[in-house]
Symmetry: D2
Subunit: 281 residues, 4 copies
C-alpha cells in the first residue's frame, strides 16, 4: 500500500470529529478562541454557558436576564419524577453522576419539553408576524392552525398545581425592564401575552402563563433555538437534581421505593393459576 | 510527510477497537466465528447470550440451569426503584429505550450488586478451600475475616420482605439435580449452604438464602465472573423493566410523581425568610 | 380529621401504582398469575419474556420464531454507537449497569427505531388491506401517501454496509416455515415482500429487506405492538452491549476516547483571541 | 378499619419524602425558605447553586472563587469519552436530555472521580494536621499510608496530555488572592502544594497539579464535601456536553460510530466455524 491512501484515511479520521467549541494542544486550552486561563476569573459561569452555546460572550444585561430564567428553574420538588428518580437512584448505591443521569434522562418531551414546545409556538407566531401586521391576529391564526390539527393544550400556559405561577410575574417584569432598556426588543413578550389573552378569551378564569411560557419568552428574546431552550432548562434543573440526590444520600435509605412498603401497590392481573405442563407445540 | 507515519496512524486507528465477539464484512456477520445465519433458528436466545459472554456454546443442560436463574429474576414489582423509575419515565414522554436506561442505570451496588457480591464471597470461600479441607471451616474463616473488617450483613441471605424467598428452594433443587447429573460439580451449592448455616447458627430463626444467594451459586457453578453475574441479572430484570414501562404507557399519566399529589412530601427546611438585599462582599 | 378522608388517601395511595404483571406477598411471587416457583425450570427465558410482555405463555412454535429474531439482533459491533458507548463507559470507571444504561439509552428513533417504524408501516398497509383487495395495491397506496408527505427513505430496507443482510434470507425462510405450519398467517411476510418490490421497482439494483424489515415481519406476525418491537430489539441488543462492556473491562484502558489521541479531532472555530476586558453592559 | 391506622399510613406516606430544599404550595415556591420570586433577578445562578447545595447564600467573594472553578471545567473536547458520547447519542436520534444523560452517566470514578478523590486526600491530610504540626510532615505521612496500601497514582496531579495544565496557575493565583483577602483560610492551598512537592521530590521533572488538584483545593476551602465536589464538576461539564450535543445536531450525521467506517475495528476472535448440529446434552 502506498502512502497516499493511508494519508487519506488519516485525514478522514482527523476530520471525523470537528468542533468550533474547544481547541486543545499540550499546555493550551481555548474555548471559542479564548484562552481558558483568561476566561477563568474574568467571565462568570453564566457567561461561559452563553459563550459555549452561542459562540460569543453576552453583554452584562443579557447575562442577567438569562440567569434570572436559570434561577427560576432549578427545582420543583420531590413530586417531580426527575427529582424522585435522583433520590431513589442514590438509595440503590449509584453515585451522583448516575443519579443525575437517570434523572436528567426523563426530562423528555412531556417533563422537559413544554418550554421548548412553547418556544416553537412563539417562533411560529413570530414568523407569521412577517405576513400579518398585528400580534393578536398572527396569534389567533397560529392557534387556530394548531387547534385544527387537534391541539387542545398549549405548552407554557396553565399549571396543574399553581393557580398563578409565582415565577411568572417576576420574570415578566424583568423582561419588560430589559425591553425598556433596549437589551431585547420585546416582541416575544408581546407574543406570549397575546397567547395568554387568546387562550383565556371567553373563559371565567384566565389560563395564566407558567414558568415554561415566560422562560420561553426570555430564551426567544435572547436568540436561543428551541433545542437549546430545553438544554438550558436541563442545566438549571440539574442543580435541583444534584441537591436532592445529595440530600437523600445524607438521609440514607436502601432501595427506597416510591411509596412506603406498607402501602404498596395494587395488583390487577389474573388470579393465581398453575403453569400448564403441556403447551401447544 | 512520508507514507510510513500515516500508515502507522492508520494501523493504530484500526487497532483502537478490538473484539473477539463479532466480525462483520459486507454481507457477512459472525459471532464468535459462527456465521449469524447458521446461528439463527439453530441456537436459542439463552445459548446466544452464553456464546457472547463465554465464547463457546453451552450444553443443553447448562442452558437449562442458566435460564432457570434468568426466569427467576425478571421482575420484583413497582416497589422496586428500578421498576418505579421505568414507569415514571414513560409518563415524562420518554420512549422505551430511555425508560429502560434510567431504570437499568440504578441497578447499582445496592439494588443490583448483592448477587455479584455474593459470588465474590463464594469465590473467596472456594479459594480458601484449596488450603482448608472442609467447607464449613473455610466458610467460618472467610466470614470471620469479613466480620473483622466490619461486615455485618452478607449479601444473598435474608430478605426485607420474604420470610422465605419462594425462588430459592426451586432453584436449589435444580442445582442439586444438575450436580447429580454431572452438569456442574456442586461445590458452590455446598458453599452457599455452609454460609446459610454459619450465619444462622445460634439464632432463633434461620437467615435463609434469597434469590441473590442461589443465583450466585448457579452463576459460580457455570463459571461466570461476578461482573458477568451482575450483567446477566440486569439482562433478566430488563424484561420486567420493559414490561412495566409498556404497561404504564398503556395506562397513561403525565409527569407521574412517586406518590399521589394530595399526599405529597414533607418540607423540613427553614421557614419563609426574605432574600437579603445586602450580602457580604 | 376523621377516619374517612385518611382512608380515602390510603386508597388513593394504594391505587397509585397498579399492575397486571406481578403480585407479591411475603413468601409469594406470581407473574401474570403463575407462581414463580412453578415457572422456574418449567418455562424458558424467552417464554418468560413473552409472558411478561403479552400476558399468556406462547406456544413452542411461537417461542422458536420469536427467539430467532432475538438471536439475529444481539450485536452489530464496535462501529455501532451503542456498542462503542458501552465500551467507552467502562473505561470511565462505570460498572456494567451504568455502561449498559448509557448504551441502551441511545437506541433512539434513529439507532433503535427503524424496526418499530417498519412495523408501523406494515400495520398501516395491513389496515389498508381491509379496504383494498390486493397487497401490492395497498402497499403502493401507503407508500405513495408517505412519499407525498416527504418520506424518501423507508425503514427496514437497504443497508449502509451490507449489500444483502445475511440475516434476512434465513429469518424469512423461518417465517415461511411458520406460515406453512399455521403458526402465523403470513400476511406480514407478504406485506414486507410487497414493500421491497415496490421500492425496488425501476431500479437497477433491488433495495433488499434488512434485519429491521424482517424482524418487523416477525413481530407483527406474533402480535407485538411497534413499541414492544423496539423494546424486544433493545433486550436482544443488550446482550451485545453487555458482552462488549465486559470485554473492554478485561482489555483495560482509562478514559478511552473514540479515536487514538495521536489522531485527535479537528478544531474549526475562531482563532485565538483575547478575552475583552470591557464588555457591553 | 378505624381511622387511626389509615391516618398512620397517611402520615407515613407524607413523611416518605422529606426535604430541606424546597417548599411548594399552590402559588408559592420557596428554596431554602426564600420565596422564588425574590430570588429571581436578585441572586445569580451560581448563588442559587450554592444555596441549594449548602443551605445559605454565599458571599460575593465566595461566589467568584466558586465560579472560577466552574468556568475552568466546562469542556475538554471530543476526545473525552463523555463528550464523544453526547455527540454520538444525538446522531442516534436521541434528544438533548438523553444525550446529556448518557454522557453525564460516564463521569464515573475514573472520568469524573479524580477531583472527588483528590478532595478526600486533602481532607485526610487536613485531619492529620490536627495531630501533626507541619503540612509537609502530615502530607508525607498520609502519602506513605496510601503508598503502603498500594497506591501509585495520586489523583489531581500530572496529566496525560498537558505538561502544565493552563488552568492550574490561574486558579491557584485566585485561591491565593482569596486567602489574602480572608475569604478562605488557605490551608488546602498549602496542602495541595505540599502534595505536589512530595510526589515530585527526587524526580527530574515535577508532577504538576492539574485542574482536578486545584479545583479540589477550591472546593475544600469552600467547605464542599467530596461527593458535592464531583457533583459540581458534573454541573460544569454539563455545559460542554450540551454544547457538543447541539453542535453535532447542527452538523447532522446518522448513527455515527467512533471512527470512520473505512477504518473500522480489528476482529481478534476465532476464525469462521460451522455451528455444531449436535451439542452436548
Amino acid at each position: 500500500m502506498t502512502g497516499e491512501p493511508a494519508q487519506d484515511l488519516v485525514d478522514e479520521a482527523r476530520g471525523w470529529w470537528r468542533t468550533d467549541l474547544i481547541d486543545i494542544s499540550p499546555g493550551e486550552i481555548a474555548l471559542r478562541g479564548y484562552p481558558i486561563q483568561e476566561l477563568i476569573g474574568t467571565v462568570g459561569f453564566v457567561d461561559a454557558i452563553w459563550l459555549m452555546l452561542r459562540g460569543e460572550l453576552p453583554s452584562r444585561a443579557e447575562t442577567e436576564l438569562f440567569e434570572a430564567a436559570l434561577v427560576a428553574s432549578v427545582d420543583h420538588g420531590p413530586q417531580a419524577p426527575s427529582i424522585a428518580i435522583a433520590r431513589m437512584a442514590t438509595t440503590c448505591g449509584v453515585p451522583v453522576n448516575g443519579a443525575m443521569a437517570s434523572a436528567i434522562n426523563v426530562l423528555g418531551d412531556v417533563h422537559g419539553g413544554p418550554g421548548q414546545q412553547c418556544m416553537e409556538l412563539y417562533l411560529e407566531i413570530d414568523a407569521e408576524l412577517g405576513r400579518s401586521d398585528e400580534v393578536g391576529e398572527a396569534t389567533a391564526l397560529v392557534l387556530q392552525r394548531h387547534r385544527d390539527a387537534g391541539v387542545r393544550y398549549f405548552p407554557g400556559f396553565g399549571h396543574r398545581f399553581h393557580p398563578l405561577d409565582p415565577r411568572t410575574p417576576r420574570l415578566l417584569s424583568l423582561v419588560d425592564d430589559a425591553a425598556s432598556d433596549g437589551v431585547i426588543d420585546g416582541r416575544f413578550a408581546a407574543i406570549g401575552r397575546a397567547v395568554e389573552d387568546a387562550i383565556s378569551a371567553g373563559r371565567a378564569e384566565r389560563i395564566p402563563m407558567n414558568v415554561d411560557g415566560v422562560t420561553a419568552i426570555i430564551y426567544c428574546e435572547l436568540g436561543l433555538t428551541p433545542e437549546l431552550g430545553r438544554g438550558v432548562f436541563i442545566l438549571a434543573r440539574s442543580v435541583g437534581i444534584l441537591a436532592h440526590a445529595v440530600e437523600q444520600m445524607s438521609q440514607g435509605g436502601r432501595i427506597k421505593g416510591p411509596v412506603p412498603k406498607r402501602i404498596g401497590y395494587t395488583y390487577t392481573g389474573p388470579a393465581r393459576r398453575p403453569v400448564p405442563h403441556e403447551r401447544e407445540p
